[in-house]
Amino acid sequence: MEASVTVGVVANPASARDIRRIVAKGGAVTTHDKLNRLQCVLAGLGAMGVERVISMSDRSGIAAGLQRLSTRASSESWPMIDFVDQTITGTKTDTTVATETMVKAGVGAIVVLGGDGTNRVVAGSSQDVPLVCLSTGTNNAFPRFTDPTVAGMAAGLVASNLDCRTAGTYRAKMLTVEHAGRVENAVVDVAVTSGDRVGSGAVWEMDSVLELFLCFAEPGAIGLSAVGAAVQPTTRRLPTGLNIRLGGTGDESDPSKPGSGERSPEQSSHEERVKAPIGPGLVADVTIKSVERLEPDAPVEVRSPAGVIAVDGERFFRFDSGDRPVVTLSGAGPVVTDVPAVIHFAATNGLFNSPSTAAHVANPAHDAEPKSETKPETRKR
């Protein structure tokens, strides 16, 4: 049997709906917006000869919307859509299960619609499959603002053409934080905050941020990584990252207070204050105590005495005084797609010249039969 070109689609129905809509000017990316973007992605995939799409299932209107739309005449050019047959929990487990199923099924790329948090979860299971990341979250440093039709075309090209894949994808950096047997990965940042509980998850009060570990800090991004961009811009393709200690506004003379830590006089004399866009509509004045380059594969201990670790802008777990979580930067993140680079490569190599070029190129990544145990259910055709 001829191997068909398959692409996975993960659209997080819950992205861009957290407390930052109230405490900051977090925009609304509605389910309908997400469906619109997905339709563009599908048109792009179809045009590049992708025959089959595997979509995550959800109970929040995305899968149901796709199913409904795929019966309409306007979906004629789309690939066939299968939905992952999964138990829907309404949590990030759904994303993990969907990604794992897609990888097993041998997809050539996964299109991700979500913010940093969604990408972090997908990256946890995507292995070597290239991701095409479309921003639909609140804090978007990892996914870039990309036109969804173009992103769909790029995903189709990467999935079906080995040269495109070589020219237009790279392995991203990643941060790993380890503590008491717990391991969490981040695709943008690990923040140490002074709170003692996880609460609504989101981090928006800069006063509470004591320390930052950044994979990259690109000018133009919003969120915690913008603090790094304001002092030492660091691109996502560089092997190193940043470790920044922040001032907070607590009583500095009280050593029992988180944020005061042990610090030497010469470090405090280097303090500087910068303005950084840490959330939509939120430009914070941040006191920088120190900025250090984070070398790859060199574990660094968190220096704050106690607090809550936040991963990609979301609070995750608490550690107590005396505990020392360890953060490591590595080049072992997900494989991601540089959309303009793929399009550029395709254009200069004549891949747009014939409408079905891509479909005639053998699928480089997966020529075997899908190995999936969880058989995706066919809903279209």
Partner: protein
């Protein structure tokens, strides 16, 4: 949020749960025949809120004297969390003259002017009323706020949309709360609602909308705190949708044959989960938890006793305190 806030929220959730657990027993205790909802000491329908305590407790933790709540047909958790007197509320549920409405309202019609608490059996009815109350607060120049509560099913009523629009246009101090328990009686959300997130629907009216996904009282507390601050400081309305859990049937007597998630319902109960997390953090001990439960039970016993000992209205009372 301090350790005291957390303990207070846990205590309140347990208080509500113990209350409803007891009401559940009392309600079924003397229904003969079992299907006759008019029979027994607690007459009429009964919609219990067990499993939805995080929504009420996380929101009400931010309210103060003078703030108002309009609740729906499933009102007990919001009533108790907002400080409605347990005795008067129980007497109302038992249809006694000492009840909040002198026994004329029953469990779906608890009106407490002192605490600005009201509820209604007509779904989404509280939304327009909340706008009215908020308008009054605004015009009086107070920093009070109104909380309007409805289920995700009610959010398909016109009144929901009209109220969001009005509150946005007039910049009213309202916090719209949607308790999304996945079911409107036997109708799952996706079968009735084109835009399955009410946080997104708020965006259509230019109101910030937040969805709290996992029935977590602390997450509700934070989102509600931000929304209440916003309303108090004149920034206008917000909507918070809490993805919560209906532990029991829609009403007492509902066999829930339509519900595929029944098996996992108990393991998703938010109260044991919260107790475990507080214990893990060293903020609650087993002994404390037992004391909290015992104190709640004692209060509930007293309220039930008060209701049972209170007079049943006479036929003449039926003509008292009515308009027409």
């Amino acid at each position: 949020m301090t350790s005291l806030d957390r303990l207070a929220m846990y205590t309140e959730m347990v208080r509500i749960r113990q209350y409803e657990t007891r009401i559940l027993q009392e309600y079924h205790g003397d229904k003969t025949p079992a299907w006759d909802i008019g029979a027994g000491l607690i007459p009429g329908e009964m919609h219990l809120s067990a499993g939805q305590e995080p929504a009420a407790v996380g929101v009400c933790a931010h309210l103060k004297k003078g703030d108002a709540i309009t609740a729906p047909h499933r009102p007990h958790h919001f009533a108790l969390a907002h400080g409605v007197d347990m005795n008067a509320m129980t007497a109302e549920i038992y249809g006694r003259t000492t009840g909040l409405c002198k026994g004329k309202g029953g469990h779906m019609h608890l009106f407490d002017p002192e605490n600005h608490f009201s509820c209604s059996g007509i779904i989404a009815q509280g939304y327009p009323v909340a706008c009215g109350q908020a308008l009054a607060m605004k015009r009086k120049g107070t920093d009070n706020v109104t909380v309007a509560v409805a289920g995700e099913g009610a959010a398909n009523q016109g009144a929901f949309h009209e109220s969001l629009n009005l509150a946005a246009v007039w910049n009213l101090p309202v916090i719209f709360v949607i308790e999304d328990n996945d079911w409107a009686i036997s109708v799952p959300r996706e079968a009735s609602t084109a835009n399955t997130s009410n946080a997104d629907r708020a965006a259509g009216y230019g109101i910030p909308g937040v969805r709290v996904e996992d029935n977590d009282v602390e997450a509700v507390f934070e989102a509600a705190g931000a929304a209440v601050d916003r309303a108090r400081s004149g920034e206008g309305p917000s909507l918070i949708e809490v993805h919560t859990l209906r532990l029991l049937g829609h009403f007492e007597g509902d066999a829930q044959a339509y519900r595929p998630d029944l098996e996992t319902v108990d393991e998703r109960d938010p109260i044991p989960r919260y107790a475990a997390s507080l214990m893990e953090a060293g903020e609650l001990t087993e002994a404390q938890a037992d004391d909290i439960k015992a104190a709640a039970d004692a209060e509930v016993d007293a309220a039930i006793q008060f209701a049972v000992d209170s007079p049943i209205p006479t036929p003449e009372d039926a003509l008292q305190h009515v308009f027409a």
